[in-house]
């Protein structure tokens, strides 16, 4: 059994490859459809001799035919190398940026994820248990309203209330710059715990609250809906009535129902994580969060091919990894799954 599962995990991991390849190809094609290139973005409005232009293009490897560029980059990727940036500044390994930016996004998404799941479970369960009542309708409405909140708008309103008006929470950044934090993982909360840095801990938590609340609430809507609907379905199943007919306590029955309702929710989580990453872009923009989202937007301005390709490939890989984890959790939780 346990050998089975490791093999399953390994094989399932192989399935990430086509996903990454497909996204790389899409981005590669799109990035090169239209004029402009990173070197021009760097040179900008300065006069530069054709020789120097050529020199710079050569440095960046952009003088090669497109298909060569395509496979060159793929070849690099195979060696775990994301290439170097092509603009502002040139030549910095993209991996350095990812190492710097990704933990920020990860920290934001993890917290938002936790918030959305907890909120979703609470509201969804509440709605399902009280199905058909006003409370249920409210919860269903909550799910819709939350889901359709426009992230920057909602974020700004929170900023206004808690940052400007009440003045109790910071509205941008990840940590107070005057706090010195020795980073290990790049996840500030974790780092401050690891290094026993109390003030960094407080500061990073404070900075996390608004962005993760924004993103978390928005995404909780989808969970509310799914949990509620699954719960309603599960609660209508015979085994739930069978539990009750055996005199099992209500909270236990609800818990078992929740466990069953949770199984399909797990599948959603993989996809939801992708949406979370998308939402993170807007959240990062609104809260000046130095993560992947803002990185990608910055890099796009300069047509930094390598950086965008690298970021997309990395994201694709990460999303693949998440869905792998989700599948494994699913397989572990649901005894019916065959692998």
């Amino acid at each position: 059994m346990s050998r089975g599962i490791t093999q399953y995990v390994l094989l399932r991991a192989l399935m990430i490859i086509p996903t990454v390849l497909i996204l790389y190809t899409i981005v590669f094609i799109f990035m090169r459809i239209l004029p402009g290139n990173p070197i021009l973005a760097v040179v900008g409005t300065k006069s530069i001799s054709p020789e120097q232009m050529k020199h710079l293009m050569h440095l960046a490897g952009l003088d090669k035919p497109l298909y060569v560029q395509y496979f060159d980059y793929l070849w690099q990727l195979l060696h775990g190398n994301f290439g170097v940036t092509l603009a502002f500044p040139m030549g910095v390994p993209v991996a350095d940026y990812l190492r710097l930016r990704f933990p920020a996004t990860l920290e934001l998404t993890i917290w938002s994820f936790a918030i959305s799941v907890i909120l979703g479970l609470l509201t969804g369960t509440l709605g399902a248990v009280k199905r058909g009542t006003k409370l249920d309708t409210s919860m269903r409405l909550y799910s819709i309203v939350a889901y359709t909140l426009f992230i920057p708008w909602f974020g700004m309103i929170l900023q206004y209330i808690f940052g400007v008006w009440l003045h109790i929470l910071p509205t941008s950044g990840r940590i107070n710059p005057n706090v010195n934090l020795h980073t290990i993982t790049g996840l500030y909360v974790l780092d401050s715990i690891l290094t026993g840095n109390w003030s960094a801990f407080v500061s990073s938590i404070k900075h996390l609250i608004l962005p993760s609340l924004t993103l978390g609430i928005v995404l909780s809507g989808a969970y509310t809906r799914l949990v509620r609907n699954n719960m309603v379905e599960v609660l209508n199943q015979d085994f739930i009535r069978a539990y009750k007919a055996r005199g099992v306590k209500d909270w236990k029955v609800t818990w078992y129902a929740l466990k069953n309702a949770f199984i399909p929710v797990i599948t959603l989580m993989g996809l939801q994580f992708a949406i979370l990453l998308g939402g993170a872009i807007l959240t990062e923009t609104t809260f000046n969060w130095p993560g992947m989202g803002t990185f990608i937007i910055d890099r796009i301005e300069y047509r930094d091919y390598n950086a965008i390709q690298g970021a997309v490939v990395f994201f694709a890989f990460f999303v693949g990894l998440i869905s792998l984890i989700v599948d494994v959790i699913y397989a572990l939780l649901d005894p019916r799954v065959k692998y």
Partner: protein
């Protein structure tokens, strides 16, 4: 032992009130096998669920009494009810595929049914093993998940769980409908043994042959009402209600070459049941009074109840 009087259950759905069960009265004695038989939608399951207080929303018991061993279940608090469920009254459901929690080992589910009623874990485990053996399932299946067992096995486990605390009343709602005849036969045997041991059984089925083959007493339901009730032998020999007569004539039999006769028409829509006797649109003997006045369930002979204006 169980006395039900004027039980009425309605489903308050968004498209109208479904009068699933109306004015149903019956009693089940000790060691008795009492069967509800009727077509789909006639309200059998609703009665069964009402007995144990588990009518699913939007259904509500709107009237009547359910007296078990002298106590009216409808007046009990949720907590009291819970303490009775599983211990004095328990239930087996129709679909063995869905009546066990797919995520938990069957052993755990069995044990829980007992520990919830104050039996300690160890004892419960031992008892669970014995119970499994009593329904002919090897004890090592304790660690199996429901999907690893066949439908028949699952249904036997459901029965084992339901009878773990030796309740005096076991409600079985079509426990064999999803199963094959050979398995069905085994389950019926099992229920019969339980009855012999002293459990009363309230059985629900749409299979007329099955109902009449096994039961002591039978209530025939039509559109939410009992139309005829009495000893099984008596009813076969001396069916009085036109519906039951027609029903018995429409069922083919393995053992005889009798011709079957179809019943004309369709079952009524319970949201909007026919006025008067609910069977009158399909009844060849219907008279004016049948169209206007609802017949009451009357005892026509000793222990033989019929609800028909045509029966004197």
């Amino acid at each position: 032992m169980l006395e039900v009087e004027n039980l009425t259950v309605h489903y308050f759905t968004s498209v109208g009130i479904v009068r699933a069960v109306e004015d149903v009265s019956f009693s089940v004695g000790r060691r008795e096998w009492f069967t509800f038989v009727g077509e789909s939608g006639s309200g059998k399951s609703t009665v069964a669920q009402a007995l144990i207080g588990l009518v699913p929303p939007p259904g509500k018991v709107v009237g009547g009494k359910i007296v078990l061993n002298g106590r009216n279940l409808l007046e009990m608090s949720e907590k009291e009810l819970r303490s009775i469920r599983g211990k004095e009254i328990s239930m087996v459901f129709q679909d063995p595929m869905t009546s066990l929690d797919p995520l938990r080992k069957i052993g755990d589910q069995m044990v829980e049914a007992m520990t919830e009623h104050g039996i300690d874990e160890e004892e419960a485990r031992e008892k669970a093993v014995r119970l499994l053996e009593s329904v002919n399932i090897p004890a090592d299946r304790m660690d199996y998940y429901p999907h690893q067992l066949s439908g028949g096995q699952r249904q036997r486990i459901s029965i084992a769980i339901a009878t773990a605390l030796e309740p005096c009343l076991l409600i079985a709602d079509e426990p064999t409908t999803a199963l094959d005849v050979i398995v069905q036969e085994a389950i019926m045997e099992l229920l019969n043994e339980l009855k012999e041991k002293g459990t009363s059984i309230t059985f629900v089925t749409h299979d007329v042959s099955l109902a009449f083959e096994r039961s002591d007493r039978i209530a025939v339901m039509y559109a939410g009402r009992i139309v005829e009730m009495g000893d099984a032998d008596e009813l076969v020999r001396n069916a009085m209600h036109p519906y039951l007569k027609a029903l018995l004539e429409s069922v083919p039999d393995v053992c005889s070459d009798k011709e079957v006769k179809a019943i004309p028409g369709n079952p009524p829509d319970l949201r909007n049941p026919p006025k008067g006797c609910r069977f009158h649109p399909r009844c060849p003997f219907a008279t004016d009074i049948c169209r206007t006045q609802e017949p009451e369930l009357r005892e026509v002979e000793n222990n033989h109840f019929v609800a028909c204006h045509g029966v004197v």
